[in-house]
C-alpha cells in the first residue's frame, strides 16, 4: 500500500474538518433532455466535502438522469459539472476516480462471489489484486459483512447486497458518493442501518454524499435537502430552511407545497 493510500485510510475527523469548506460537487445551469423533451432544466447545486445532502423528489423528477449525467453515463451539452476542482467534461477519468456510485438498480453479478465482484470493480479502477482484496476486507468489516466474502451474491438478502454495493462503491476511496434510491426494496431495519452507515461515512471519512430518494422519512432533521421536481430544483437548504420557505409545520407539508405548487 502506498503512503497516500495509508494517509487517506487514516483520515481523522479533524483532518476532514480542515477541508470541510472545499467543494465536492458543483452543478451549474445543467439542462438535459431526451429527444427534445426536457428532463432537467437549469439545475444548480453544490455539495461540500463531508456533507450529507438528500436529493428529494417524486418518481420522474429527474434524479436518476441527474446521477447519470454526473457519472457521465450520459453526456451533457448545457451547463457544467465539477467533481472537486475537476471539470467532468474535460477530465472525466479523474472525476470518475473521485466518485463512487450506488445505482438504483442492483448491479452485482449474482453468479459471482462477493470477493469476485469486489475484485472485478477494483480491477476496473486499476487496483492491484492485493490492494483490492485488502480494501474489500476493510469496507466489508465496517459493514459487518466480512463473513460473506466467499458467498455467492445470489445467496445474499436484499439488504446484504446493498451493503456489498456500498462497500464496492468505496473501494477506490472516493471523495463523493452518489446513492440513487439505495433503500428500495429493503425492510425498515435494513434501511435504518444503511442510512446510519452512510452518515457515519460523512462524519468519519469526510465523504460527501448525495442521497436520492422519494421517501420523506429518510430525511434527518440535520440533513440538507435539495428538492427536485419536474427537472428543476424547487428548493434547497436545511430542513428548517425549507419549513420556513414553505411556511409549513412538517417536511411533508413543505414537500407538498413545493411539489403541488408546481403541478400545473
Amino acid at each position: 500500500m502506498s503512503h497516500n493510500d495509508r494517509a487517506s485510510l487514516q483520515a481523522s475527523p479533524a483532518s476532514v474538518a480542515e477541508g470541510s469548506d472545499a467543494t465536492a460537487l458543483q452543478v451549474r445551469d445543467l439542462s438535459f433532455g431526451y429527444k427534445g423533451s426536457p428532463v432537467l432544466e437549469g439545475v444548480c447545486l453544490t455539495l461540500k466535502v463531508g456533507e450529507f445532502a438528500v436529493l428529494l423528489g417524486p418518481n420522474g423528477a429527474g434524479k436518476t438522469t441527474l446521477f447519470s449525467l454526473i457519472t457521465r453515463l450520459y453526456a451533457h451539452r448545457q451547463g457544467t459539472i465539477r467533481i472537486g476542482e475537476v471539470d467532468l467534461q474535460r477530465q472525466s477519468a479523474v472525476a470518475h476516480v473521485r466518485m463512487g456510485m450506488v445505482f438504483q438498480q442492483p448491479t452485482l453479478d449474482l453468479d459471482l462471489t462477493v470477493k469476485q465482484n469486489l475484485a472485478y470493480f477494483g480491477a476496473l479502477h486499476g487496483m492491484a489484486p492485493g490492494l483490492a482484496r485488502q480494501r474489500a476486507l476493510q469496507q466489508l468489516a465496517r459493514l459487518d459483512m466480512q463473513e460473506s466474502l466467499n458467498s455467492r451474491v445470489r445467496h445474499l438478502s436484499g439488504g446484504q447486497r446493498r451493503r456489498v454495493e456500498i462497500a464496492r462503491s468505496l473501494l477506490h476511496e472516493p471523495r463523493l458518493l452518489l446513492l440513487d434510491e439505495p433503500t428500495v426494496g429493503l425492510d425498515i431495519a435494513s434501511r435504518r442501518g444503511l442510512v446510519e452507515h452512510v452518515h457515519r461515512l460523512c462524519h468519519e471519512q469526510g465523504v460527501a454524499v448525495l442521497w436520492a430518494t422519494h421517501l420523506i422519512d429518510e430525511v434527518d432533521s440535520n440533513d440538507r435537502v435539495i428538492l427536485l421536481h419536474r427537472g428543476r430544483v424547487r428548493a434547497q437548504g436545511s430542513v428548517m430552511d425549507l419549513l420556513a420557505q414553505a411556511d409549513a409545520a412538517t417536511l411533508s407539508d413543505a414537500y407538498d407545497h413545493f411539489v403541488q405548487g408546481t403541478a400545473s
Binding site: Y120, G122, L124
Partner: protein, 270 residues
Amino acid sequence: MNLAAYGHCLRGVVGRELLRFLHQRSRFVAALVRPLVWLFVFAAGFRMALGVAMTEPYQTYVLYEVYIVPGLVGMIQLFNGMQSSLSMVYDREMGSMRVLLVSPFPRGYLLMCKLLAGTLVSILQVYVFLAIAYLYGIQAPLMGYVLVLPALIVTGFLVGALGMLLSSAVRQLENFAGIMNFVIFPMFFLSSALYPLWRLREGSELIYRIAVLNPFTHAVEMIRFALYEQLNVEATLIVLATTLILLWLAIIAYNPAKGMMTQRGGPGGE
C-alpha cells in the same frame, strides 16, 4: 492511470468473462455440440453429394468433413461473438453495464477489454473442437494449430465488434433474438463456410456475389489458410479493415457524447 493499472483492468475484465463462462457449463456444451453435429451428421451424410474438388489451400482432393472444419471454427466464433453481445444487452438491462461504464478508463479501452475477453473464450472453445476433430481423423499440420491463433484472434474481434455494435442498437433483450436470426444465419450460410465460392457461383451468381461481400467469408478463408500454414493476404486485409471499421463504430455507439446510448435513454435502458 499508469500502464500497470491498465493491465489490472484488462485482467479483471478477462477474469470475469472466464468466470462467467465456467459458471455457464451448458453454454460451453451448446457451443461444442452445434459444430460437432454439423461435422458428424451433416458433413458425414453429405460427404458423397458434396465432395470438394482440389482448391486452395488444400494440396489434394479433400473430404467434405475436412473442408467444413474451418467454417465450423468460424461458426463457433460467430455464435460466441453474438453470445457476448447478448450478455452485453443483458448486462445493460440488469444494470451491471453501468459498473463498467463508470470506470475511469477510456470507454474504447474498456470495450477492447470486453472484446478480448470474449475472443479468448471463443478460442478456448475452438481448440477443444479442433482437438475432437483431430481425434476424429481430421488433422491439419501441427504447426497449423499454432499459426491459426492470430486468425482466430482477428476473427474473434471481427464478430465481437459486430455484436457490440448490434448490442448498442438493441434496447431490449427480446429484440436481440430477432437480430441474431437476421445476422448469424445469413452471415453463416451466405459464406464459404459450407461450400467453396466456386460452387456457390455454380448455384447462383447473386449468392456468390453476396458471399464475396460477406466479411465472414474472408474470416473463414483466413482461418482455412492459416490452419494449413498459409497466409491469405487478401482475406486477412479485408477482415482487418472490416474489424477496424466495426470497432470504431461500436466505440462511437458507446460514447456518451456521440453514441446511440444517450438517445435510447442510456445503458440502463431507462
